[in-house]
Symmetry: C2
Subunit: 194 residues, 2 copies
């Protein structure tokens, strides 16, 4: 999405350590006109895929999931993160390590929210190493459901997640793919979308 790339170029803040701050319009304070456009684009990309449910992980994927679910007229579910390893009850869980936050946690979805009939569009704000998405995919598979694809706002193309997922045959649609970013010059280059 050209408009998203322009906003990132103009308003994104690059910090040392490959951190891209877009919290003031993408994921903590959210520009809802941009959110609506992103939801429309993911709807366009997945309208013929037989999607039955939108799945994300708390907290910064939820606004996008709600917008996409509203746009597509589908229910949404968000997975919870739990630092404790004591997860009980009728839930699917998957262990995820976040390199950004240097934490390991369990991703948890109650079993009643996913069924073998579901075809799931997973959405999230960022794709870097891909661990959160791999955890969500494992949960969808554990439920016997299928993954239609992953819809992402910003993919860090210089990190491995996108390659790992696409090599495994997972469809990934990132609305902007950052190929390089330079904390000193503030320069960002985007991958041309096919």
């Amino acid at each position: 999405m050209k408009y998203l790339e322009e906003r990132i170029r103009k308003e994104g803040i690059i910090l040392p350590g490959n951190v891209l701050k877009v919290g003031h319009f993408v994921n903590q304070q959210i520009d809802t006109e941009l959110l609506r456009e992103m939801a429309k684009e993911l709807h366009r990309l997945y309208r013929d895929e037989g999607v039955t449910k939108i799945l994300t992980i708390e907290a910064s994927g939820i606004a996008l999931a709600a917008a996409v679910a509203l746009e597509m007229g589908l229910p949404m579910v968000f997975a919870k993160k739990n630092a404790s390893s004591n997860v009980s009850g009728d839930v699917y869980t998957s262990r995820v390590t976040s390199y950004t936050h240097h934490k390991t946690y369990d991703v948890i979805v109650p079993k009643e929210y996913l069924s073998p009939d579901d075809r799931v569009l997973i959405v999230d704000d960022f794709l870097a190493m891909g661990n959160a998405l791999l955890g969500l995919i494992a949960i969808v598979k554990a439920a016997g459901a299928s993954v239609a694809g992953c819809g992402i706002i910003i993919e860090k193309g210089f990190q491995e997640g996108g390659n790992i997922l696409r090599s495994a045959g997972v469809r990934v649609d990132s609305l902007a793919i950052v190929d390089t970013m330079n904390a000193e010059t503030g320069e960002i280059t985007f991958r041309e979308n096919p």
Copy 2:
């Protein structure tokens, strides 16, 4: 909202300890048609209040905040919860104790997301003791901004939060107010809305 009350009566699960489970259609798995209706109703209630921003707290308020913000054409912000007391940087914080989860945490909003010009509609899924809302109101006031009101999905009318807020002069609009619920019989009574 009569439709919301009917859904709660039909699908809500009452557990001992005054717990009302509506996770499968209100706050973890979300029925987006219901979400849209709730957002439209809060829009109707606050359309003439000069609201500039929607504020909520992670995680289960975010979907409602996104839907209301999309409906009203306004930006939204969610406050983060942090169990650690080491909060640094340019942020507003407020200490909150959750009686439901037996935890104390800091509610955090970066200062750049609230300004004295803002008139804020706070939304959340549940109102029980009111502590999360009081924390958000404290943050809005610390920013020099004003609170237009609090839009809530389900208020537990038999707990103190609603009274505390309304006695303090805060406008509170709850789409359903549960006055009594009985874990043994499954019976729920709702307060008549004015």
